[in-house]
């Protein structure tokens, strides 16, 4: 899925972006730069400022301070770039009495887009057979997919999707992940906010972490997630060997910790492959059969919780 094709000019960049509502600061001196062509996951807890930041990029909300550019134009003049941006922000909003296809035609007319690709767009989002149904009869998942179709009108260079899987059932979440994954393969820049960290981890090649309106991390996903393994997960076949294995490894001088019915051996700078080989040999010599011997890497969830909660969890 990773497809970073970053070119020199960023698709969007903001510096010092700030939004205050009275005494409440929602976005606080926020910086972000997305290279063109990346699929960026915009991750943060509820109320972190994700939607407000996206709304400022889309000209819906005026920044209190800061500056930025989207597709080369200032965010002070959204009309200069919005015809090249597709967006789904907050919940999808359409006219309930119109069909899905009629809604798309209306949005195409307002934006002066060619309406010819609408059947193909409905097909892309899995609504080919339901385009003639009234929007009010759509399920939540269908509404979200129609929102994606509307965002794709005009074949935008940049897609901004605000929690597209929000409120969907597990099957819907999987479908949406697949859809976003397909969009990621089209070469356009995508900024997608999500609470589903596994979705972000699987689909995105760029990460922006935000909390209380401030940037915690931004950069290539591989820089955050692709680090060396920090542990080796070891599981004995027979539960009664668990303690013996712990004693064996401790006696070898390994830094071992039991964790959810398995043992985790800290790598401590050594090569995880070499460590796995020696642990396996020691267990074999002691007559202990292992069913799992795998490297443990820090997940996005680990990073996220560590950054958002300062490692409190």
């Amino acid at each position: 899925m990773t497809k970073t094709t970053a070119s020199s000019a960023p698709a969007l960049s903001v510096t010092g972006l700030t939004k205050r509502y009275g005494a409440r600061t929602v976005v606080d001196d926020f910086d972000m730069e997305l290279p063109a062509g990346v699929v960026a996951g915009f991750v943060g807890p509820n109320g972190a400022g994700k939607t407000t930041t996206m709304a400022m990029l889309l000209g819906l909300v005026r920044p209190t301070a800061g500056a930025g550019h989207v597709l080369g134009s200032s965010i002070d003049d959204p009309a200069a770039y919005l015809d090249r941006v597709g967006a789904l922000i907050e919940t999808p909003a359409f006219y309930p009495a119109l069909s899905g296809a009629e809604n798309l035609r209306m949005f195409a007319t307002v934006g002066r887009y060619d309406a010819t690709p609408i059947p193909a767009l409905l097909d892309t989002v899995g609504l080919a057979g339901r385009g003639g149904d009234r929007y009010r009869d759509y399920s939540l998942g269908m509404k979200q997919r129609l929102g994606i179709a509307a965002a794709l009108l005009g074949d935008p260079e940049l897609l901004i999707l605000d929690e597209p899987a929000n409120g969907l059932d597990p099957e819907g979440v999987r479908e949406m992940r697949s859809l976003v994954g397909d969009l990621a393969g089209t070469g356009r820049t995508v900024l997608v906010s999500s609470h589903d960290l596994s979705e972000v981890e699987q689909v995105c090649d760029w990460l922006v972490l935000i909390d209380t309106g401030r940037s915690l991390y931004q950069g290539p996903a591989r820089d955050l997630l692709g680090g060396p393994a920090h542990g080796l997960v070891v599981v004995a076949q027979r539960p009664e060997d668990h303690l013996a294995l712990f004693d064996l490894l401790t006696a070898r001088g390994d830094d071992v910790a039991p964790e959810h019915g398995r043992l985790v051996v800290k790598v401590n700078g050594s090569d995880v492959g070499d460590l796995a080989a020696t642990v396996n040999r020691a267990a074999f010599d002691a007559g202990i059969v292992l069913t799992e011997l795998s490297p443990q890497r820090t997940t996005l969830e680990d990073h996220y919780l560590s950054m958002v909660h300062g490692g409190a969890r």
Partner: protein, 262 residues
């Protein structure tokens, strides 16, 4: 802005809406004509409160008198319709979604209003034609001569009635839009609109005649009627222009400056 108008027309001019407009125009014409002809006095002043006179019905403008009188009472309906139309765009999020396609906020709101007013203009024309037709049928029951209705002066009076009714409807539409933009919530805007244009104005004018010349709803009613004993057409038009101008400017300022968070 033309793209917004075209999109709004495409949204509104659907079979169900067209049937509702046709049925509404016919119902309006029957009720207005029967009410006006049955309540017409032999003589007396034209009042915002009262009906018309048989003499006025016999005049060149008599053919569309029922249309003008009846229309002065449906302004409130236009008012709440526009409140509901616009406020629902805000509370339902379609205004926000459309802004992503037409970021010029003033063009979007003016285009949508213009599209709706074009539909209203057609509905008003249909209602006038229907009312004239029903009036021709009802006129003999009150011994009202209809010859003058089809004279050049009659056509002029019909055009004048159309213009004043449309101007009044546009005024109500602007007030409704303004209220919807201020509150951005259909129930809240409708509640305030109902309270103001319904009980408040009408209770006050019962004890304060100057209210006919001051309150926006009463002024628009007089404008639609083509002037009344309490407020002449010239002053009604001027006052309505000032009121709607202030409402329009305030609305556009609010639309262009306020964050879109819904």
């Amino acid at each position: 802005m033309t793209s917004v108008i075209r999109a709004e027309l495409a949204r509104l001019l659907r079979r169900r809406t067209l049937v509702a407009i046709a049925a509404g125009s016919l119902l309006f014409s029957v009720i207005a004509t029967l009410s006006v002809f049955s309540s017409a006095q032999a003589s007396g002043p034209r009042s915002r409160r009262g009906g018309t006179t048989l003499a006025a019905l016999t005049d060149a403008g008599g053919g569309t008198e029922a249309f003008a009188v009846g229309a002065s009472f449906v302004g409130f309906l236009v008012f709440v319709t526009f409140i509901a139309l616009v406020a629902t765009e805000f509370s339902g999020g379609t205004y926000r979604a459309l802004l992503l396609r037409q970021p010029h906020r003033v063009r979007l709101i003016v285009g949508k209003l213009a599209g709706a007013l074009l539909v209203a203009a057609a509905a008003i024309g249909l209602a006038e034609v229907c009312t004239l037709t029903v009036s021709v049928l009802v006129a003999p029951t009150r011994d009202v001569a209809t010859a003058g209705w089809f004279s050049l002066a009659g056509v002029g009076a019909a055009a004048r009635d159309y213009a004043t009714v449309f101007a009044g409807v546009a005024g109500w539409a602007i007030f409704g839009t303004a209220l919807a933009v201020v509150f951005r919530s259909a129930p809240l805007a409708l509640g305030v609109g109902f309270a103001w244009a319904g009980p408040f104005e009408n209770i006050i004018v019962d004890s304060w005649d100057a209210g006919f010349r001051v309150f926006p709803g009463q002024v628009l009613g007089s404008l639609i009627r083509g002037g009344s004993a309490e407020l002449g057409i010239g002053r009604a038009a001027f006052t309505a222009l000032v009121y709607t101008g202030v409402a329009a400017v305030g609305t556009l300022l609010l639309v262009s400056r306020r964050d879109v968070t819904a």
